[in-house]
Amino acid sequence: MYRILNKETLAPTIKLFEIEAPVVAKKAAAGQFIILRIHDEGERIPLTIADFDRKKGTITCVFQEVGKTTKQLGTLNQGDLIKDFVGPLGLPTHIKNYGWVICVGGGVGVAPVHPIARALKQAGNEVIGIIGARSGELLFWEDKMRDACSELRVTTDDGSYARKGFVTDVLREVIEEKKDPVLCVAIGPLPMMRAVCNLTREYNLKTIVSLNSIMVDGTGMCGCCRVTVDGETKFACVDGPEFDGHLVDFDEMARRSAIYKSQEKQSLEQFNAGVTHKCSCGGEQ
């Protein structure tokens, strides 16, 4: 069992947990993720490592409540226990001194982009950060990102905070203004990552995205997370989750992410209706 040491509400549907998991913390690196299962009947869901503290032996995850599991996770509090927590999974971000790089975080993607920006800056890069959200209410970690980057630009889709516009609008300005960045890292909702890639392709700017395909084991055993990159089948959990965004088949990725839409809806409705556990799978809830 893994204890929640700290809980923060970053935005109405975005929560942060700091979880005691010394084995994972010891090895965690920017770009990797964990898989957790809340209880015996629970689903295994992946969350990116947003931060880690090796000394304290903790992992920080930031998640958005989108369905049954993340909503249920959001009901847990400091001191509560999570049944299973495994990681660090996936390959770490390739960190080196590229010169100057752009890190784009959209929505909840600000959390996973943060340790990457920080590591890139520590490696000697000049890091321009761009973060955005639908509205000001949903924006978080502006201060942390300001620390992690050499320069930070903030935007909201509706203009309710900072400037109005999409992260891609800001990205185009930055590229035009500063000329010849070496690398762009973009993490956020799929449509955002796709839009970023379409833009950076124009400038021939190499772009790394972190793919959140549906996963089960996270160790390369089931093939559920497969994505097509440069015409080849890759497993996001072991070959990724980061890939060269210009080579990713985003259409396929989007369709595969929607495979369980109707079941997800059913599950959420049942959860919202407060149906309690009644199956015979031996769970303890």
């Binding site: 084995v23 295994r44 495994v86 660090p88 055993m221 089931c222 559920c224 396929e252 079941q263 799978c281």
Partner: protein
């Protein structure tokens, strides 16, 4: 001489039948299909055994269970004696009795089988094991603590057996398992209706009672590495039993369409994550009306039978060769047929077609015929030119085999691998090219059987014990 013997006794030509759930009922539930013998039936079956002096049956058993000896004890109703005899060689009899391919192992060589049906060795073994599980497991002796520590990676039959044997020899064993439940394929692959998970968990509890520590949620190669376990971790030896968990694809167009599963995903969602209890359990699975399973082994049979139980109207096995070449256990093939699984033999898909929403709608297939025998001795399937046809399906399960997962091999220094990426280990000792590191089971042999994995775990345990003794304690 055996002929003479056969005529001396009046022998029932057929095995005593084993009760099973009715096909029409069981094909819609996940409860165990085969219900096991009654005491009367098991004794009657034991009495069919001729007690052959040379006991050819034993040579067919990869771990050489003393078959006539335990069967004799069963005939005498000494069930405690019988299970002790079995366990001298086989530490997981409740599992092997259910899933060993007996018709190509022990029972294949049974003298009786020359004229009649062979003795139902597997069923008798299962009876003894189930009886022990029901009445409380015999306490197993453990040697005094040696003070030596061994790490076992993977908790499939290879790892479990190796861990049990080492613990009995007095070593402190820690098992590292990537998933949240120990048991390997026994838990995530083989379905409940063939191997109840309770049986597996009882065996695992026995292991814990021997003092073995099992750390789930530990991916070696990620959370830690073999090299670290041996240096900072303080382990004196390591056994790698990580199985063959990497799914193979057909490498045909359309394999990423929605509704195409690997058997690993299909079975893991169902067995490990209990998707058949959705939405009471959170993990979903999508099942269409007509399912095609590609392949002909146990994995394919399990997938096809699982599809029926999940509500498919039609479940098809699509196999390149003919019925005679099906590598699955005989009993599984028969059970699948009884349950209404359909077979498209000498057929293989060339393309998976999907609709505009990217969901599977059909497969383009080719017919095959059998040509000359290939390296495996089976007749090679050859495509018939111009035989393309369309098979309408809305779910496809790929069950054409698994390879070794590279996580451990890639992160361990000095480990020699085979061309296919399996770990090279001496079959007589389980020793790898790295001192103190042993390996066995599917990670070494490629996808094989439970009993072979178990046997490899046992062999390695012996070698590790010897290695620890030679390399003195401190």
């Amino acid at each position: 001489m055996t002929e003479a013997k056969i005529t001396k006794k009046t022998i029932m030509p057929k095995k005593n039948p084993m009760e099973a759930q009715e096909p029409g009922i069981r094909s819609r539930n996940f409860k165990e299909v085969a219900l096991g013998y009654s005491e009367e039936a098991v004794v009657a079956e034991a009495n069919r055994c001729l007690q052959c002096k040379k006991a050819p049956c034993r040579q067919g058993c990869p771990v050489e269970v003393d078959i006539p000896a335990f069967i004799k004890l069963v005939a005498e109703r000494d069930f405690t004696g019988a299970i002790k005899k079995i366990k001298e060689k086989n530490s997981l009899p409740a599992i092997c009795g259910r899933v060993c391919p007996q018709e190509s192992q022990c029972e294949k060589y049974c003298t009786l089988g020359k004229k009649y049906e062979p003795v139902a060795i597997g069923r008798i073994e299962r009876y003894c094991a189930d009886r022990e599980l029901a009445t409380g497991v015999l306490r197993q002796e453990t040697a005094p603590s040696s003070g030596r520590r061994v790490a076992v990676i993977g908790s499939g039959p290879a790892g479990l057996t190796c861990a049990a044997d080492l613990a009995k020899l007095g070593h402190k064993v820690t098992v590292f398992e990537a998933l949240h439940v120990p048991g390997g394929v026994l838990m995530y692959g083989i379905p409940e209706f063939r191997l109840p998970k309770q049986v597996v968990q009882t065996e695992i509890n026995n292991l814990k009672n021997l003092g073995v520590e099992i750390l789930v949620n530990n991916v070696v190669g990620k959370s830690t590495t073999v090299d670290e376990l041996m240096s900072a971790g303080g382990y004196d030896a390591v056994f790698i039993g990580t199985g063959a968990g990497l799914p193979y694809f057909m490498r045909i167009q359309g394999e990423s369409a929605c509704g195409v599963y690997t058997a690993n995903e299909f079975l893991t969602r169902t067995n490990l994550m209990k998707a058949y209890l959705f939405p009471d359990c959170d993990t979903p699975i999508r099942i269409g009306k007509k399912v095609a399973v590609l392949g002909g082994g146990n994995v394919a049979m399990d997938s096809a039978r699982t599809a029926l139980r999940l509500g498919a109207e039609e479940s098809w096995i699509v196999y390149r060769r003919s019925r005679n070449e099906l590598p699955a256990r005989q009993e599984e093939i028969e059970h699948a047929e009884e349950e209404g699984v359909k077979f498209a033999f000498l057929t293989s898909p060339t393309k998976i077609l999907h609709n505009e929403d990217y969901w599977v709608k059909a497969m383009e297939c080719l017919r095959y015929e059998l040509g000359e025998p290939d390296a495996s001795g089976r007749r090679r399937p050859v495509p018939v030119p111009g035989s393309e046809f369309i098979m309408d399906v809305d779910t496809v399960v790929i069950a054409i085999g698994q390879g070794p997962n590279p996580l451990v091999p890639r992160t361990t220094s000095g480990l020699e691998l085979t061309k296919k990426g399996n770990i090279f280990a001496d079959p007589d000792t389980g020793a790898t090219s790295k001192p103190g590191v042993y390996a066995g089971g599917d990670i070494v042999t490629g996808a094989a059987t439970v009993i072979l994995a178990m046997g490899a775990g046992r062999t390695a345990a012996k070698s590790i014990h010897a290695y620890l003794n030679e390399n003195g304690g401190d």
